[in-house]
Subunit: 138 residues, 2 copies
DNA sequence: CCGTTTATTGAAAGACATTTTCACTAGTCT
DNA sequence: AGACTAGTGAAAATGTCTTTCAATAAACGG
């Protein structure tokens, strides 16, 4: 069984058809999906899936770190799967594909410097890169 | 005259009471403001200011790089002034204050590495830090 | 395997947020 | 000052997200 099933079980949440549908849709997608899109695609797997449930499921999954929210320029409401430890994505301007990358380490230096300059105590960050994926460069 | 007046003029946009009101409200604010909030405060300066115009003005200002959109966890709809060259903000979890910082330089190394690993050609990024400002740490 | 318990669901209605439309207003240029 | 046209604001339309609540279906014990 996959990771998300374990995580839900461990936290005392049930494994339902709706949640499975949402998770599978996200696993199949290469690009961030809006709740609407997730609902639409999810209905192919679980026809009675409701939009309300998609919203609730995404909130839950986000809390559990199974999914992460991605911010576009306009309308910042996309979701992608997030593997544990990978907290950032690169988005392709061409095809919309989203890909995770590691590299929080490089931020530590920057964060230290900002703490020094501003006096803030930094405890969180949001980092997203955008560009063209190898395919779209052709 | 201030920078934004020049920028608008150069691009062939008019300097109107509405735009001036929006710009002044943002200049006075220390934290990101929602369109509603901007409209409300703007009406103290230009009573007939409409919410529709605030939306249009923010879009325009964002295109011109005069203003930047800030992303919260929930409901990512705040705007702050952006000085040229300063492209990032730290948000205070306590009081909501937003402060710009420089430090894109540190990202260059990270971006190079990600380009190497993923094959993407990176041409943009979104970086925001969150934490507690000096005041709120007390 | 079957019934019980209770988290989860989905439809409808509601609350906001954002966009479109269009007649009118007011910057800007001459 | 007058003409031209970008810009404005109210109303209505459209979207997005949340709340409510009776019905459903996971999970667990027998």
């Amino acid at each position: 069984m996959s990771l998300w099933v374990d995580v839900l079980g461990r936290e005392g949440h049930r494994i339902t058809r709706s949640r499975r549908a949402v998770m599978e849709v996200l696993a199949d997608a290469q690009a961030p999906l809006s709740p609407q899109m997730i609902c639409e695609r999810g209905r192919k797997r679980h026809p009675s899936l409701g939009l309300v449930t998609v919203y609730r499921t995404l909130d839950l999954f986000e809390d559990l770190g199974l999914v992460m929210r991605v911010h576009h320029g306009a309308g910042c409401h996309g979701y992608v799967l997030s593997s544990p430890g990978h907290r950032h994505v690169v988005l392709c301007d061409g095809c919309g594909r989203a890909e995770e990358f590691v590299g929080a380490d490089d931020l530590d230096g920057l964060i230290d410097r900002v703490e020094g300059h501003t006096g803030y105590r930094i405890d969180g960050h949001l980092l997203q890169l955008a560009g063209l994926c190898p395919v779209c460069q052709a």
